[in-house]
Subunit: 332 residues, 2 copies
C-alpha cells in the first residue's frame, strides 16, 4: 500500500457518509468497502517517492515545445464531435484520419483556405466511408493516403499501425516503403520492425466514444488490450464530456500544470470516475480525489466510484492492483 497517502487531512465538507454513498453505489457487501477519506476542494499531492508511472493526460492541451508536441497524435474517426479542433491541433505533432474521419475534418472548416492550414499527415482505412471529394482535396494537398482493404483489422487498428510505422521510420531515418493495399501496414510493421517499438507515443482519439454502445465498449476493450500488446502506446479518448484513459497496474502519478487547463469551469473541482472495466476486480489506493480510498475493492456488480472529483492541485496518485480505466470531466 502507498505510504504517502494520509489517512485524514483537515477539510470543510459535508458528512462523508452522505456524499460517499451518493458517489459509490455498492451491491451491499460492506466487507468490500475498504476505507474512504473525504478531501477539501484542493490538495497538494507531491509525486510518489516509489517507482511509478507518470501520466500526463492533458498534454494535448499544454505541449508547446516541438520535443513535447512531437509524440502527441490526434486520431480523428468518423463520428460527430463538438471539441474545438484548433485548440488541440497546435499541441499535436501528428494527425491521422481514420477513413471517414477525413470527411469530419474536411467539413469542420468553412473554406479550402482554412482546410489547407489544417492538413492531416495520413488518411488510413478501407475507405468504405471516405468521400471522393474529400480524398481528392487532401490528395491534391499532398496528404499521404493509405488504402488498407483487408478486413482482418478495423480502421482504428490500421490507423494505430500507421502511427507506429511513422515514428519507427522516422527514428531510423528511413523513408516509407511501398504499402500493399490489402494489409500492407501490418506486414511492414511485423516484417521490418518485429511488431514492437519502445517509442513512447500518446494517441488522442477523437470521436470514438459516445455513439452506439457496442462501439463504445469495444473501444474501451481496445484501450486495455492495446496497452498489453503495444505498451509504448498511450491511448486517450476525447469525448464531448470527458477524457478517458488507462491507469496502469502499480503506482500512477497523474500530473497537469493546473486543473483549469482541462476544466474551465472551476466552481467545483472536475468530476471523475474510476471504472473497473477489465476482466478482474481492482484494489485501489488513491490520493487527490474528493473521496480518496484505501484498500478499496472495485468491480462491476460491486462498488464503483463515479461522480468523484479531482482535488489534487497539480496531480493525483492512484495505486491499482490491475490496469483500470478512468475518466475526467473536460470543459474547454
Amino acid at each position: 500500500m502507498l505510504s504517502v497517502i494520509p489517512k485524514s487531512i483537515s477539510f470543510n465538507g459535508r458528512a462523508l457518509s452522505q456524499n460517499f454513498r451518493h458517489s459509490c453505489h455498492s451491491n451491499g457487501n460492506m466487507s468490500e468497502q475498504g476505507e474512504v477519506f473525504e478531501r477539501p476542494d484542493t490538495v497538494v499531492v507531491d509525486p510518489p517517492l516509489e517507482k511509478h508511472h507518470t501520466i500526463e493526460p492533458f498534454a494535448f492541451l499544454t505541449s508547446v515545445k516541438e520535443s513535447e508536441r512531437k509524440y502527441n497524435v490526434l486520431l480523428i474517426s468518423n463520428q460527430a464531435f463538438k471539441t474545438d479542433l484548433k485548440t488541440i491541433w497546435v499541441h499535436c505533432g501528428l494527425v491521422v484520419c481514420s477513413d471517414g474521419g477525413a470527411n469530419r475534418l474536411h467539413d469542420y472548416f468553412a473554406n479550402d483556405q482554412e482546410r489547407g492550414d489544417y492538413l492531416p499527415n495520413y488518411i488510413v482505412g478501407d475507405f468504405d466511408s471516405l468521400r471522393d471529394d474529400v480524398r481528392g482535396f487532401y490528395k491534391s494537398k499532398g496528404v499521404k493516403i493509405i488504402p488498407q482493404y483487408g478486413q482482418y483489422s478495423n480502421d482504428f487498428q490500421k490507423s494505430v499501425r500507421c502511427i507506429q510505422l511513422h515514428y519507427s521510420f522516422l527514428e531510423q531515418g528511413r523513408q516509407w516503403l511501398e504499402v500493399d493495399e490489402d494489409d500492407g501496414l501490418k506486414e511492414i510493421w511485423e516484417n521490418e520492425f518485429g511488431g514492437a517499438s519502445d517509442i513512447q507515443i500518446r494517441i488522442y482519439a477523437l470521436s470514438v466514444i459516445g455513439g452506439r454502445f457496442d462501439q463504445t465498449i469495444q473501444s474501451i476493450n481496445q484501450l486495455y488490450i492495446l496497452h498489453q500488446k503495444e505498451p509504448n502506446l498511450h491511448l486517450f479518448f476525447i469525448t464531448n464530456d470527458d477524457l478517458i484513459f488507462l491507469l496502469y497496474k502499480g503506482v500512477n502519478y497523474v500530473m497537469y500544470p493546473n486543473r483549469a487547463i482541462f476544466c474551465k469551469n472551476m466552481s467545483s473541482p472536475p468530476l471523475c470516475g474510476l471504472l473497473p472495466l477489465g476482466d478482474k476486480p481492482v484494489t485501489l489506493n488513491s490520493f487527490g480525489f474528493r473521496y480518496d480510498v484505501q484498500n478499496w475493492l472495485t468491480k462491476m456488480m460491486g462498488q464503483v466510484s463515479s461522480s468523484n472529483r479531482v482535488v489534487g492541485k497539480k496531480g493525483f496518485i492512484v495505486e491499482c492492483s490491475e490496469d483500470i480505466s478512468m475518466n475526467v470531466e473536460l470543459s474547454l
Copy 2:
C-alpha cells in the same frame, strides 16, 4: 447448450472469417473462441422449447392494449435526448420524472396546452436541479411531487422506489401514505412491502446513458445490480443511438413483431452487441444474429461481439452462463 441452434443454414454472405474478425476483436487466445456461424439477413427463429426468459424490449413502441401499456414505465432523467417523446408516451402506462428530468419534459413542448397533454405521474428527487417554474407548473396540474432530500440514494434509485410503490399500492387497492421528505419512499417500501414485489414492470429510462462516462458505467452497473436485488424490474436504457438491456442467465427469447418497429432503416439488419460488463466471463450460445456463436467465451480484455446484426425475423435466442448486457440499434 441449446439444442435448437442449427450449426449452419444456407446463406449468401461474404467470407465468415473476414467479417467475423471485423466484429469480434480478440486478445488472440484462439482457444477461447468457440464456434461462429454466419447467417443471412433474415432468419426465422422459433421460441425455444426449453424453459426460458421471454424479453420484449420494444414494448415501449408496440404496447397498445391497456393491460400491456400499464406496466411500461417511462423514466425521464436530466440529460438532453433526441428521442421522439410522443411516440413512446402512448405506449407507457406511467411516467416518472427524476428531479431535473421534469425540466427536460417541460422544455420539450412549445406551449402549456401541449404540456398539459403530457403530464408525468410523479416527480421525484432531491430537487437540486428542478426549476421553480417547472415545479409550479406541474404542481398546478396535480402531478404528485415527492421530495426526497436524503443523500443515501441517488435520484434514479429514489425514482425506482416510487415506481415499485405505485404498483404495489395499486395492486392492493391502497392510497399513497404520507411520504417523509428525507427518505420516506425507502421506509414505506421496506416497512409496508418488505422491499420486494413480484409485479413485472418494464422501466424505460430515457437520457441516462451517453453523457459523462462514469455516469454511463455506473448506470450499467445499476442495470446488473437492480436485476439481482429487484428481479421484478426490467430496466431498459433508451439512448440516442440504441436500446440497452440485460439478458438473464439461462436461455432468453427476445421477441418483437418485426424489426422495422425499432429500426426504420432496414437497408441492413439492425446493429447490436453482446457486452460482458458484469464481474464474470460469459459463455454464449446464440441464434438470430449475423454472427451466431456456440460455446463462445466473452469477457472484457478478451473477445467481445460488437457490430453484430439482428437477423431473427421476429426474435432471437441467447443462452448465457451469466447475466449479460446487450444493445440494439434504434432508428425510430
